[in-house]
Symmetry: C2
Subunit: 162 residues, 2 copies
């Protein structure tokens, strides 16, 4: 039951994040996190909305967007935009890092697990997939924002102890 271990871990991490940032620990937020970590593949807001409502838990789209924002911010969720105008998401933890093969004709996305060894320039055909170009996106925090964030945290902590 590795899956449940991961669920516990991410719940702890999310709780910490909410505490640190003075956000409320609402049932909706934890339900959404749990639901997201119950599947491995990509999803979008609409499919998550359908899936949650039909299954057991009633949430509004607004809350989904809101919570997704938080999960992105604390690094538990990854956002993708594969050319379509619908944002795709996937859980960040317990998913090995993988490349994405995106067909520019039909838009289908295949995952391609290959460690970090893949160098597209050297290898023009992958799994019967004709590569036309590739992009490496590295998401993170730039120096300026990091500095601001650290200052905000410092301020936050000092006011906590007031």
């Amino acid at each position: 039951m590795d899956a449940n271990k991961i669920k516990e871990q991410v719940k702890i991490r999310f709780t910490e994040y909410l505490n640190e940032n003075r956000h409320r620990k609402t049932p909706e937020r934890f339900a959404i996190l749990d639901h997201i970590y119950s599947t491995k593949g990509h999803f979008n807001v609409e499919s998550l909305f359908q899936s949650m409502n039909s299954c057991n838990f009633r949430v509004s789209r607004a809350t989904l967007y809101n919570t997704i924002e938080l999960l992105l911010d604390c690094g538990l969720l990854i956002k993708h935009q594969f050319g379509e105008n619908i944002s795709q998401y996937e859980r960040a933890i317990g998913n090995e890092n993988h490349d994405h093969l995106i067909c520019t004709s039909c838009g289908k996305v295949k995952e391609y697990k290959n460690g970090n060894l893949f160098t597209p320039a050297q290898q023009k055909k992958v799994q019967k997939f004709k590569v036309s170009y590739y992009s490496m996106y590295i998401y993170g925090i730039c120096a300026k924002c990091l500095k601001e964030k650290q200052q905000a945290e410092k301020k936050n902590k000092s006011s906590k102890n007031t």
Copy 2:
């Protein structure tokens, strides 16, 4: 004047593409291609619209979208979506392949030219940029679409000689 050489080349390639696909060679299409290949960085439809109209050439947004579609299809243009809901584009030829550093806080995008040597897992700090995750997107044509495309081409050629 390497830039002009590139402009010539892409113009030839675009002409070939238009011929092959029985699309008309309108002045708008070539003006847009030329304009795109006059700058190196990222742009979006709005900025291209402003830039073209203010400079010299009057085009509608609809035509921009239309032409961009063609340029994407024939591999002369690359489309990016960096989390925002505005699509970004950049010329595909004469731009060395580069990674993109995207700040998840302020949304700014920096280019990071480093051949294909960069392995983020091994190197967590790049240029004072705190990496939280990365994605490699490989765009191309999947086997199914490639087959369909080849069949369509065959059909196209036979009808050409009728």
